[in-house]
Point group: C2
Chain length 406, copies 2
């Protein structure tokens, strides 16, 4: 039977067996010591692949190329990524460059162009420097523990890498699900300048993987908000190479739910890391809504709380100004009845059945000064529940974003 | 025939004939010199009335009382307003207090309770101090030029009053449309902690006034965004007392369109003043979208630009980072084709047919350092057009909102 889902200490995308990664600095980003701006991931064998991409009407041609690769349905061997330039807003040249970047990476990895996903993140409106991209592919050395280099190569305004891995026993085989992500600003429910790569050594049937990924993304990365903005490049891809030797997981397999839960858990870890590292952030905000009419309403209510500038500013000031929670809930679009609402801040009930509860203000202020603030909401209508993640709004966010290109 | 619409220099809500107003300080807000926190407006005669209120699911009982007053359809004589406390999030007591506040004001004004609208703005979750409210009604002295006092009495984090008046000749009679507004934070398309009172001495048939107001609000106040948050108390009311002696305007009247245009112009002026005084703002942002598939798409695209934190931060930094405009347009939900989009910053073309146009960066940066930045977008699809107003995001916004109640 399926065992518990365990976190792997120090886990990264190469924790999954049969995956190699690496990164290098080629000069696309301004140089700072220890910074990288190009990375590669390679599976020793072919992978089943699934992906979820930005819902923006204006997308990077790199996303277009990946959508075509996904649609062809063929096996995948790896991916190439650069940071510093988004390959978006550059007219037709962007598509040509994305195709060439995949081809150059494939040649370097010794696989076919259609077996490689291609990602870019950074400034919009600047063409990719293809000479540097080619140089990068030659420079990168892949290794079995190169996940951290790949994670570093993806970073833009991120202050640290996002890496995690979980392991679970499926039918007697220990399988790993591991990933890296990047994203710090321009982050909102529809995935944002957010790139997330997940590798698993589990054998997973591709159609099953593709069938479960959208809902998992909707419960994790799409419940993340840093600043309400959605990028042209957001992407989540999952590659499964089967190196663990488990019986392939498909819809209805005994282990299907466990695999799904483990993938969800990995993405929750990466979502939390992304929220914690929001531009200028000092505090992780978690909004847990239960008792909503349905999941859609619960998601709306939870996301509206974490994306409200007034709530985010109040958290920064450790200000238990719950009127702003009421304001956010009211405008969320979720169905609610004021006289049924219970509110909690870090477990302390501050409103019950729509009426303020006297609470020890100083104690709540002290709780809010911690690294994580949790807002609990019970709408007491039905069974819909959801969790959203975000971060506080600080002066530093404004400083970072008022001088990004100039 | 109808003459041109003229702005009245120094105009305020009592510019319209037959209206008196006044304000006082009773102690609801923390005292600072020159601050007021209660105000009254009275028409010498009965008025036709129209109103638009917050779309939040959780509203102040004051809004509920006004909706009931509106629904009864009877004539209106005036209104009472307090700032400092929002009369929201206080359970059933809020409704009782709103009714009592209307009754107390009516007694003071010598009219009936059902002829008085009642408004509150300020902190959510605190009960109204009814003793102070009663004291305020006794204290206030009404005058023919008391509009500025009323405007001051409505202010919360506003740094200055919002007042305007326009005048137009309708069928040989000079009529005035004048108003006051307040609102600085918690402001977003669905009307926000925004209160706007409009008085006109034009004779206007009530059903006609009510029929035109929602669309005018959608084109003006509902195109305003300061911080994406919508308050529990947002309200716009228009009172028309007929003191100008014009032939009553109704649907199909010769002057109906001119009156509509004049009311729109007044609300544009107040909307601009609200945007300029957004919390912490240094720059007015105007987004003009044309060539959209329809008006709804144009509104979506324009509002998404003015509400994007990344665009707002870029304006603060005078950073012509037009990639953020592309990002905002892409996620707006409006239909668009990348290769057809033209973009302008203060009239300078920076993107044509989806391709970057080389522009004199230093010149655009200099333009963006002015008091007003206009983003022009032509989607070149059809005839939909809309304008949205907003302001830049500064460190000061965060400072103001991280320490509002504590």
């Amino acid at each position: 039977m399926a065992g518990p889902i365990n976190h792997v200490e120090g886990g990264t995308i190469t924790t999954a067996k049969g995956f190699k990664a690496g990164g290098t600095y080629v000069g696309i980003k301004t140089f700072t010591e220890d910074k990288m701006d190009m990375g590669l991931l390679l599976s020793d064998t072919t992978c089943a692949a699934a992906g979820v991409f930005t819902k923006s009407a204006l997308v990077s041609p790199s996303v277009t190329v990946n959508r075509e690769t996904m649609a062809s349905g063929g096996p995948i061997r790896g991916l190439v990524v650069n940071s510093g330039i988004a390959n978006a807003g550059v007219g037709e040249q962007g598509y040509t460059d994305a195709k060439e970047m995949a081809a150059v990476a494939a040649a370097g990895l010794g696989v076919k162009p259609e077996e490689v996903f291609v990602f870019s993140t950074g400034v919009i409106g600047v063409e990719l420097p293809m000479t540097l991209i080619k140089q990068g592919v030659e420079q990168i050395e892949l290794s079995d523990n190169g996940g951290n280099s790949l994670a570093r190569a993806m970073m833009t305004t991120d202050t640290h890498t996002k890496e995690a891995a979980v392991t679970v026993n499926l039918g007697g085989k220990e399988i790993n699900i591991s990933g890296v992500a990047k994203g710090s600003g321009m982050i909102h429910p529809n995935m944002a300048t957010m790139l997330c790569f997940v590798a698993t050594d589990a054998a997973v049937e591709q159609n099953f993987l593709r069938s479960i990924l959208p809902d998992i993304a909707d419960s994790t990365l799409n419940m993340l908000d840093i600043d309400g903005d959605t990028s042209t490049n957001d992407s989540l891809v999952v590659l499964a190479n089967g190196a663990a030797g488990n019986a392939a997981i498909s819809a209805g397999s005994a282990d299907a739910d466990t695999f799904r839960d483990a993938l969800m858990e990995l993405l929750i870890q990466l979502t939390r890391q992304l929220a914690q590292d929001g531009e200028g952030a000092t505090t992780l905000i978690v909004a847990k809504v239960e008792g909503a009419k349905n999941i859609a309403d619960a998601r709306l209510a939870a996301k509206t709380i974490t994306s409200s500038l007034l709530v985010k500013s109040a958290v920064y000031g450790a200000d238990p100004n719950w009127g702003r929670l009421i304001m956010a809930l009211g405008r969320s679009g979720a169905e609610m009845v004021e006289s049924k609402i219970d509110l909690y801040i870090n477990g302390v009930c501050i409103m019950e059945s729509g009426r303020p509860v006297p609470f020890a203000r100083d104690a709540v202020v002290a709780l809010m000064r911690g690294d994580e603030v949790t807002f609990g909401v019970n709408l007491n209508l039905s069974n819909g529940q959801a969790t959203a993640w975000g971060c506080d709004l600080t002066e530093e966010y404004v400083v970072i974003n008022s001088a990004y290109t100039t």
